[in-house]
Amino acid sequence: MEWADFLQSFANGLLIAGLYAAVTLGLTLVLGVMGIVNFAHGEIVMLGAYNTFWLYTLLGIDPLLSIALSGLLLFFIGLFIYRFTIRPILNDPPLNQLLLTLGISIFLQNLAMILWKTDSRSVITSYSGMSLSLGVVNVGMTRLLTFLIAVGLTLFLLFFLYKARPGRAMRAVSENNTASWLIGINVQKTYLLAFGVACALAGAAGALVSTIMYTYPMVGFKLSLKAFCILVLGGLGNIPGALFGSLILGLTESFVGTYVPEGSGWAEGISFILIMIILIIKPTGLVGTRRE
């Protein structure tokens, strides 16, 4: 039984880590390419989750299908946000960028409260109750699907960054934007696209969120903080680090939930405690970073 418990919580942690990774990808991309910590990232995820919820509730569109739709919708919203708010402050001090994105975050949270009230909503599909039994471990169908799609999104982003031309331009700009400009990369366009792609990924992650968590206006803020924790764990602005951080956070939360009395409540606080401990011990994040 002991082993079964351990394996079960390991599996749960692994699966939730997939979701966390999906949520963190876009944040990592924006930080890596533009050097901006986007506080509104979680709210983009939240919008993706609401979009999925409403498409399912009103039109009966399957959440798995909404992944693409949410991604597309948030891509355009992302372009809009970038053009009118982020672009004017690209060269501002980091604290101004923090305040601006924090402002967007607060705005979207409260907009969601005004439009959709503070109720917690969830998407329940025909396959929500199904689970897969792998020996001693039971895995929920939606969680498994979510995990697989999150892995898919990660692979897509890596492929995009390493093989596709615009993705390679993003990597070049993240290394050195002046040099990139000198060799003929349109830096502004690259930033715009990077922000749009990041929001699209967040929208897709939001669709995943809506299937295995409650959707409510503050869910984005909670996820933002988890994503910050992951960034701090994995080093700022690199994707392998974000995956590593997601794994650590997912597993820690899951094990605390299993082995600590009243653990599921305490697990909610793990990310905050980890952020503080790591930053206090090592002010630039656990793995180190290229950027200040």
Binding site: L99, L100, I104, N110, K117, G265, G269, M276
Partner: protein, 314 residues
Amino acid sequence: MNRSFSWKKALFIVLLLLFALWFPRLVDAYFLHLAVTFFLAMILASSWDILARTGQVSVGQAALFGIGAYTAALLFKWVHLSPVLGMLAGGVVSVVVAALLGYLTLRLRGIYFSITTIAFAEALSVIWLMTPAVTGGAMGLSTPPLFGGDRQQAYYLILGILIFCIGVVWMIEASRLNFAFTAVRENEEVANVMGINPTRYKVLAFMISAFFTGFAGGFYSHYNTYIIPYEVFGLGISIACLVMPIFGGLYTIAGPLIGTMIVKVIEEYLRVTVSYGHQIAYGLILILVVLFMPDGVMGIWRNKVLPLFRTVSR
């Protein structure tokens, strides 16, 4: 900022003070209550600004506010400490927490510090929810009405604290601390070379800021008679603490006060018109200030309005 003494300014301040003292006789209970919440918010705004003077942007003032609130409420519950002493204790405990946290985290710069402060407030919220035996948990704590529900006395108490707080800000501005804080904010390395220990001044600013924030928390718990962790450790308070002074204009005495007035009026209006999400104004204001009015209302006053009068008089 302006250390030259001017009679006009002194007269204005005296008149303002007389008006504030006379105010409770002029208005009904609602406006008195409104004035109390405005003054409370002004204290939060001014004390956030004190910390901001060292370049540290706290997004977790709610942690200090909540600690002050719970210290006062718990001391009342345990030993029936008189409310005013409880508030003072709230301020003191917040100072101790800020000193510890500050010592640990003020090595962090910019965004790292901001993220840590949010994480701290959220962590406290979780701890409070998970230890209901001590803290009352999600059900919160309640205390009997302050001064038996006498709003006038509450008004004069919070007015006194506000004046004390403004006095401290004024003293900081008039003293060498102002130069130290500014030097640390502008460039830490240079400040260090000039013989200013950045960590020391950052922790000092954090502690001063914490005292007033904690005291305000203590006042809030007694005045409101009821506190829950979601609210006093919540993001809403942290955001209010920073939006008001940023909107008014940072690093000035009047900026946070004026910012609070305007933001609170907007918030009160929205509170009546929309049932949820009246903090949407805070988000919008933050976006607009960063994009279009970098020095807040005070900046517009200095750069746009004052020059108009100058050309007229010439």
